[in-house]
């Protein structure tokens, strides 16, 4: 049911666990800094203590931190005076939420019916191969999180992939690399270019040879 869980089991420990630096976790670990806790408190402060606000609050937290940090969920449960398990239940039921940090860029591959019949599964496979991922999830360098979505409502342009807020229409396997390169770190894409050039040189040499 839950996409974006990254296949990892979340353990609620007091100390938290170390993870590479990523957007939204300035401290570089999943232990939150004072500033981040203050930010979290100000998000929580915008809502009153009704249980009905639970999903809306979680959405705001997710939008700010790109995941739902454990410390904030604990504070939220206290604020709404509900058990932490209730918060956890809602946080793991809905697709929008993630309990582990997501990458800098979110690649949403549409697997709606129209995209499916026009070849989306193969585009997805190509994206995963290109990012060296076995299944949808986050890359090791936390630059990309690949998610599958069921229809973004752009069926006329199938197959589509949405990266962050930009929708890329009429994708083919051959176009995948070009789209992803637009979002790669500068350093990385230079390496890419360099290796591509090298390969090109090899081709040329082979031809001459």
């Amino acid at each position: 049911m839950q996409a974006g869980l990254d296949g990892r089991v979340l353990t609620f420990t007091k100390a938290g666990f170390a993870a590479p630096a990523c957007r939204g976790t300035g401290g570089g670990t999943l232990v939150m800094t004072e500033t981040e806790l203050q930010q979290a408190d100000s998000i929580l402060g915008q809502f009153d203590d009704r249980r009905a606000n639970l999903i809306a609050i979680l959405q705001d937290i997710q939008a700010h931190f790109y995941y739902l940090p454990e410390d904030v969920l604990r504070r939220l449960a206290r604020k709404l005076r509900i058990p932490l398990t209730d918060v956890y239940q809602v946080a793991t039921f809905y697709r929008c939420f993630s309990l582990v940090p997501r990458g800098r860029h979110q690649v949403q591959v549409c697997l709606g019916t129209a995209c499916h019949v026009r070849g989306a599964p193969r585009v997805l496979d190509r994206i995963l191969t290109d990012l060296k991922l076995g299944a949808p999830g986050t890359t090791r360098d936390r630059q990309f999180t690949v998610l599958t979505v069921r229809c973004v409502g752009c069926c006329g342009l199938a197959p589509v992939v949405r990266v962050d807020n930009k929708t890329h229409p009429h994708l083919t396997q051959a176009k995948v690399r070009g789209v992803l390169n637009k979002y790669r770190l500068k350093r990385q894409s230079q390496e890419e270019v360099a290796s591509a050039e090298e390969a090109g040189d090899r081709d040329a040499t082979a031809q001459v040879g």
Binding site: M1, A114, V117, R122, R150, G156, K166
Partner: protein, 624 residues
């Protein structure tokens, strides 16, 4: 803007707005719906503004962004008013030519006009395009005319006139009666008579609530998105009328999180309506109170089911509960609640404005009015289509949709999303209404219509839907949770060529059981795609099982790729895209595919210009 204090003030404002606008003043409207935006509509808008500024025409010619026109395939779309010249596939580079043509006596820019693929002639106006000619755009008609973020545009085309009429001349009972007489049925899929639902809710004590269901989860359907994006005030107006009829003071709109633009436009519409005194306390000076709250979904297909949606609004997980009690008796916070689809609410002002008898005159005996379909998949003209009920599938596919691309043969039409079924090509003369579709094993659903051609594998499609439903089942009741899982496993097995004929009987048994025993509509209808494909395309299942052959050449385990040496020109394009380094051969030399390494991703087939790469299926697979 001071709040409007009476119906008369609203009408005088409208008259003022109409007088202030010169109908002859040129206006360039560009579709900025999700589809056209993805295709570059905002670049076009910027280009037009730059071109106008360059010629000093920014005060003489207006530029406006509008909602979705429905013809997404040909986007970005734009119309030049007042002539109504329709341009398609516009780019920012065309801006100068368009501005020049408008300022020089309006000679249409030939290359941007739609070209009829049959006659080859250029078409000037939108309504002459065959895609639009057969449609009756009752709900979507204003989408291409108004700026969805400006209430004045909506007022200009007669918006909130139905509300004014209701508040000044009608009683709540009369409204319910009018909706009942119009024959309007719920547009969310089940087709429950709207008037009856309202009447049942009114019989229960206040406080009552009202919900607009915009959780359009069906893959392949995007009409609710387009309506909320393109004409949010029409939905709000329908809800205000409904609230008056039902004595409601709090209303909710639940919109899918995947639709950011729809949320933005609806938010703006609600704020503006409050500013103008059309929402909030003392609406148009009548003492009526209503607040509309916008709630964003968090991504769960099952929340489209009404009881699950209500649970989600209450901040809980979206698990449905058994009915009765129906929401009209016991809904949000345990109070009587009317929950209707986006299109149902938008139909209400139309019924009030044009009268219930006019509305009941459209459509068939039991299905009245117009229905919006999203025509997508293997079809030439993809997009949103609004047609009277009772139109045949043939008219939809060939007259409006322009047929199947590449001269391929139509195989099936999948209607109604994951809960619907696949209708085979030989039932193409079936008229579309609620009853006929159900008889054919499908259902109206929210109106997603996915066209499939000979290159679509029906077993793969059944597997696809089952995977979707397994993923989206909330897991509460056993028949749905386990049934979808087992069916997906069996279908995956058949797709891999490892199925047996007993599997087909097992699928039918499971399907029957799920229909009988599941708690909500998701589980009860989950087997439809499997049962209809088994009913109409059994031979395709048997080909997978008996001959280990996928006739549509889709199922990876059963296909192979090969290169026809006489056609290969050694261009190396396939070598560059090959995911598994499986293509051998130097540049300029004939390539061959190493089947042991081939991952059957099909990328080589996509890029091969001389069409030398071919897919095969059948006995050769065993030799791999």
């Amino acid at each position: 803007m001071p709040r409007l204090k009476s119906v008369e003030e609203l009408e005088s404002l409208r008259a003022e707005l109409r007088a202030a606008r010169d109908p002859k003043r040129p206006c360039l409207t560009v579709c900025a719906g999700s589809g056209c935006t993805a295709a570059g509509a905002h670049d076009v808008l910027a280009g037009l503004r730059r071109a106008l500024a360059k010629h000093g025409l920014q005060d003489a010619i207006d530029v406006k962004s509008t909602g979705c026109h429905g013809f997404c395939e040909r986007g970005p779309l734009m119309i030049v008013w007042p002539e109504g010249t329709f341009y398609n596939q516009v780019t920012a580079n065309d801006a100068a030519a368009i501005v020049a043509s408008v300022s020089n006596g309006h000679v249409p820019v030939e290359k941007l006009l739609y070209r009829d693929p049959v006659s080859g002639k250029r078409v000037i106006r939108e309504e002459e395009v065959p895609f639009y000619a057969r449609q009756q755009r009752v709900l979507f008609g204003n989408n291409g005319r108004i700026d969805p973020k400006d209430i004045k545009d909506y007022l200009h085309v007669g918006g909130y006139a139905a509300l004014a009429r209701v508040l000044s001349t009608m009683s709540p009972e009369q409204i319910v009666d009018a909706v009942t007489r119009s024959g309007l049925r719920g547009r969310g899929g089940a087709g429950f008579p709207t008037g009856l639902k309202w009447k049942l809710c009114r019989e229960n004590p206040a406080p009552r609530y009202l919900i607009c269901n915009g959780d359009e989860g069906d893959p392949g359907a995007f009409m609710d998105r387009s309506l909320l994006e393109g004409n949010p005030h029409s939905v709000a107006e329908g809800m205000i009328i409904g609230a008056f009829a039902l004595g409601v003071q709090e209303a909710y709109v639940y919109v899918r999180a995947e639709y950011p633009l729809a949320c933005e436009h609806l938010r703006a519409a609600i704020d503006q309506a409050e500013e103008y005194g059309l929402l909030g306390d003392d609406i148009l000076g009548t003492g009526m109170k209503l607040r509309i709250h916008l709630v964003k979904g968090a991504g769960a297909f099952v929340c489209g089911e009404e009881t699950a949606l209500i649970a989600s609004l209450e901040g809980r997980v979206g698990e449905p509960h058994p009915r009765p009690p129906y929401p009209a008796q016991k809904g949000l916070w345990g109070r009587p609640t009317v929950i209707n689809n986006v299109k149902t609410w938008a139909s209400v002002p139309v019924i009030i404005n044009w009268g219930p008898d006019w509305y009941a005159g459209i459509g068939t005996e039991k299905s009245k009015g117009t229905m919006v379909f999203s025509l997508v998949g293997k079809i030439n003209n993809t997009g949103l289509v609004e047609v009277p009920m009772g139109i045949t599938l043939r008219e939809m596919i060939y007259d409006i949709g322009g047929g199947i691309p590449g001269g391929k043969a139509l195989k099936a039409i999948q209607i109604g999303g994951p809960s619907g079924g696949c209708i085979p090509a030989d039932l193409i003369d079936l008229p579309i209404d609620y009853e006929r579709l159900t008889e054919a094993g499908s259902m109206m659903g929210s109106g997603g219509m996915v066209v499939m051609d000979e290159t679509t594998c029906m077993v793969d499609i059944a597997r696809y839907f089952m995977e979707f439903l397994e993923d989206e089942s909330c897991g509460q009741c056993f028949p749905c949770r386990k049934g979808t899982q087992r069916m997906r496993q069996i279908l995956t097995r058949i797709c891999a060529g490892n199925g047996t004929e007993d599997d087909l009987l097992l699928l039918e048994d499971l399907g029957w059981l799920m229909k009988q025993a599941s708690l909500c509509a998701l589980g009860q209808t989950a087997a439809n795609p499997v049962l209809t494909t088994l009913r109409y395309f059994r031979d395709e299942y048997l080909a997978h099982i008996r001959e280990r052959r996928c006739p549509a050449k889709v199922c990876r385990e059963l296909i192979f790729y090969e290169i026809e040496p006489t056609l290969c020109d050694g261009c190396h394009a396939c070598v560059r895209v090959c995911a598994g380094d499986a293509i051998l051969g130097e540049k300029e030399a004939i390539h061959t595919i190493d089947r042991a390494k081939c991952t059957r991703c099909g990328a080589c087939l996509e890029v091969c210009q001389p069409r030398a790469v071919r897919a095969g299926t059948g006995e050769l697979v065993c030799r791999n």
